[in-house]
Symmetry: C2
Subunit: 187 residues, 2 copies
Amino acid sequence: MEINQIIDTIYPLTTPSKNLIKASITETTFPKGHILFKANKIETSIYFIKKGIARAYAYSEDHQITFWFGTEGDPIVSMQSYVNHQKGYEDVELLEDCELYELKIAQLQKLFLEDIQIANWGRKFSELELIKSEERLISLQFNTATERYLALLKNHPSIIQRVQLSHIASYLGITQVSLSRIRANIK
Amino acid sequence: MEINQIIDTIYPLTTPSKNLIKASITETTFPKGHILFKANKIETSIYFIKKGIARAYAYSEDHQITFWFGTEGDPIVSMQSYVNHQKGYEDVELLEDCELYELKIAQLQKLFLEDIQIANWGRKFSELELIKSEERLISLQFNTATERYLALLKNHPSIIQRVQLSHIASYLGITQVSLSRIRANIK
DNA sequence: TGTCGTTTTTATCATTTGTTAAATAGTTTC
DNA sequence: GAAACTATTTAACAAATGATAAAAACGACA
């Protein structure tokens, strides 16, 4: 997805303000398997996915638990770094060769203080992420594992096609074996 | 908690900007049991809790599931109303007699467009809520019911003292009977 | 095509949580 | 203080999920 569309979808800006953001954005590519964010590190950039798919995971005991997927158009953000300038707890792994837009957090925060439109763009950005986070929270708390799997299948079919089931199982809050059982029961 | 402290904790403002927000805030009180927000309704205000405690819940089948508690200093927001001007899915019930600060969403959004400091205050407000939402998500996905109960006991002991266990159980994602079992096993 | 390595499914048994109902404890009201 | 109501705990059984191991399916690659 093109950067203009990504920016506009969050909050429409006048051309000068939009150009200020775009001037801070660079395009990069990374191969499949690249670890974009490392846990216990303060990240200095946020990214937007032009092409590809990524996951965020953290360790519980000795095994990884995936808690986020991002595809074309989605932002990749270590919230603890972005909001609090603190170490994050997650790795972000690219699951395909990816084309990304990179935006330095420090530059963006400078723009927040200088341009009211960009400040409101940043406000909207967090508001939209907050809505997504709340929806996922409700889904985890209200729905059974089977319902969550069916919802993912319906709302984000490309994730199930592009990502291996062990990651999806942990994203749904169950083991891979449980997910296999659920899939077998649905058919 | 006083409104000055609540505003400052989110993001420090110069006096004129702060006064603009404060001029839009009124103080109200409601008795225990009052339903502040109704599901399937577009709410027009957000609140901050001066004194008291509240919960947000929604219905799954025929029973209520509590997914949020707020105490002194916390904001009460129907995110769908605040962010998207759409109907929310939750009721908010006051669990004690409450003193609240009320802020009309329309007035706040007007200020967002006029005052860059307030726009950044609003940005920070959502960022902080987002961090809280993500922490809760991680807790639901990574921890067992027993671990979640112990964390609540440690981080928010006043909730367990002030709220009945049936609400806490649904907040933890388990039945009241399960919570009783967990409590019995801990001692 | 065939082999190796990875991913997914299936099977078995243990553990956790849900469901229903009854018993106990605690609160409110008269 | 007794009765009525509500909240919490306990008990018994059912259902869902976890853990471990083995089998099957799938992919990469010589």
